[in-house]
């Protein structure tokens, strides 16, 4: 009798976990990925789309092509999980039973939570938003650009900084820089979350005349006045506003009572188990862990989740432990980038931005489809 393993979400975490599980368990388990669209998107690409540096063709692929043939793919929207009966109900009415469940459901954007955002603010966190912003930038003839953050937590902490640096460079190349003012509204008292990386980036910003507003957490947008206000009580004027939208956990997590007040899954930082239900694991953006919401986090968590489930199926004591490993790039413009590599016991020591890291990032962008979901990048 084989174990039934169900994975909600066919993103990088879910796909990789599924492939690792069938590889290790063979006939001992049935592994099913449940995904609402059956399309796997490469989200780091959206930033480049917004800047007109990439098009949509390499950004999404059929999930089926990324999964081992032994993995079942069910294209359904999971509506509710019942941990008591160990069943997942679909919006269409069907259901699936599980022995072990992996929540790899990611995050959803909720721009509607910010008054005035929709229609007035731009975002590059969805493909539609990135395409719309690209067109807005094409029409842009100069003015005050504000890049800010309208909710915490959010995916990819480097993104607002990267966008600001790359946009400023684009404005220079287009001859619009003299007519423009570029400001990064940072939630913290520095440009970026990691202090050592902030120390690399702030001098670059200063040199390029990019302004930094600190402790500015966007609360609301006033489209008629063309202003954005912060929870700290300040206001700033814009001609072009680009914001990271607020994020929440997926509806199925909230509807099932599996999440906290933000819809994030309460997760053990090492075992990646749900803190209440030991047959449920969570990974990637879906967890409540105060670590980076980054593709690399899901990438490094997947082998831990897979290994622990394999142990449980085989009846041995699970040993694998997630030690907080994350790896991100941070593009600084001028064809340069730095890299952030860290875990729970080793803080990041980002190197001086160089062309080597920018090239590495672009190689990753291109090679992703052939390597990461299949488990070819350790």
């Amino acid at each position: 009798m084989d174990a039934k393993i169900v994975i909600l979400g066919g993103g990088v975490g879910g796909t990789l976990a599924a492939n690792l599980l069938v590889d290790a368990l063979g006939d001992a388990a049935t592994v099913t990925v449940v995904d609402p669209t059956g399309m796997h998107a490469y989200q780091p690409g959206f930033l480049y789309v917004a800047l007109g540096q990439a098009n949509g063709r390499w950004l999404a692929r059929d999930e089926r092509t990324l999964l081992h043939k032994r993995v079942d793919l069910v294209i359904e929207t999971a509506e509710r999980v019942d941990p008591g009966t160990r069943t997942v109900r679909f919006a269409s009415g069907g259901s699936i039973a599980y022995d072990y469940l992996v929540l790899a459901t990611g995050a959803r954007l909720v721009p509607e939570q910010i008054p005035g955002f929709i229609g007035a603010g731009q975002e590059f966190y969805s493909l539609t938003g990135a395409l719309r912003l690209r067109e807005e930038l094409r029409r842009f003839r100069g003015g005050r650009v504000l890049v800010g953050v309208a909710g915490i937590p959010y995916k990819c902490p480097p993104a607002p900084v990267e966008f600001t640096l790359l946009l400023e460079e684009q404005l220079r190349h287009r001859g619009l820089r003299q007519r423009s003012e570029v400001t990064l509204l940072s939630p913290l008292n520095r440009a970026f979350t990691v202090e050592s990386a902030s120390k690399l980036v702030q001098p670059i910003m200063e040199k390029r005349g990019i302004k930094l507003s600190t402790f500015f957490n966007v609360e609301a947008v006033d489209p008629t006045k063309g202003t954005v206000t912060s929870i700290e009580g300040e206001e700033a004027e814009y001609d072009l506003l680009v914001l990271v939208p607020p994020h929440r956990g997926q509806s199925v997590i909230e509807a099932s009572g599996l999440g906290d007040e933000g819809g994030w899954v309460p997760t053990d930082r090492n075992t990646l188990q749900h803190r209440t239900y030991d047959r449920i694991f969570a990974m990637g953006d879906a967890t409540d862990l105060p670590i980076s919401k980054s593709g690399s986090t899901a990438h490094f968590e997947a082998p831990i989740v897979a290994s622990r489930i394999v142990s449980l199926v085989k009846g041995t004591a699970p040993k694998a432990s997630y030690e907080g490993r994350v790896m991100c790039f941070l593009e600084t413009g001028d064809r340069r980038a730095t890299t952030l590599r860290f875990d729970y016991t080793h803080p990041p020591v980002p190197p001086r931005p160089s062309m080597v890291w920018h090239a590495a990032k672009w190689m990753f962008n291109r090679m992703y489809w052939h390597t990461v979901p299949q488990g070819r990048v350790p």
């Binding site: 909710g151 915490i152 937590p153 902490p157 939630p187 913290l188 008292n189 979350t193 990691v194 202090e195 402790f215 957490n217 929870i231 700290e232 009580g233 906290d260 007040e261 933000g262 930082r269 862990l289 105060p290 670590i291 980076s292 907080g324 994350v326 991100c328 952030l340 860290f342 875990d343 729970y344 016991t345 803080p347 990041p348």
Partner: protein
């Protein structure tokens, strides 16, 4: 002896978590919370000793208590408005 207990609404264990960091996580928790909610943030980051009080003051919330421990500190912050 009578004690007035601080009811901690939520504990955020951000020890060893460099990014987005204890302060960012606290800001998110305060945004999502109700007035009066109290958060205990555990941070092993030395910068938190200045960063957290600085933001709490600017955002006009209350830093109830700072408690040093072994390799980390705990900051008790109340959402005041």
């Amino acid at each position: 002896m009578t004690l007035t207990e601080t009811e901690v609404t939520k504990t955020i264990d951000a020890r060893g978590m460099a990014c987005p960091g204890p302060l960012m996580t606290l800001i998110g928790a305060i945004r999502a919370g109700a007035v009066g909610d109290t958060f205990a943030v555990l941070s092993s980051d030395a910068g938190s000793k200045t960063d957290i009080p600085a933001w709490v003051a600017k955002a006009r919330h209350e830093l109830v208590q700072t408690v040093p421990a072994d390799g980390y500190s705990t900051f008790i912050v109340r959402k005041a408005r």
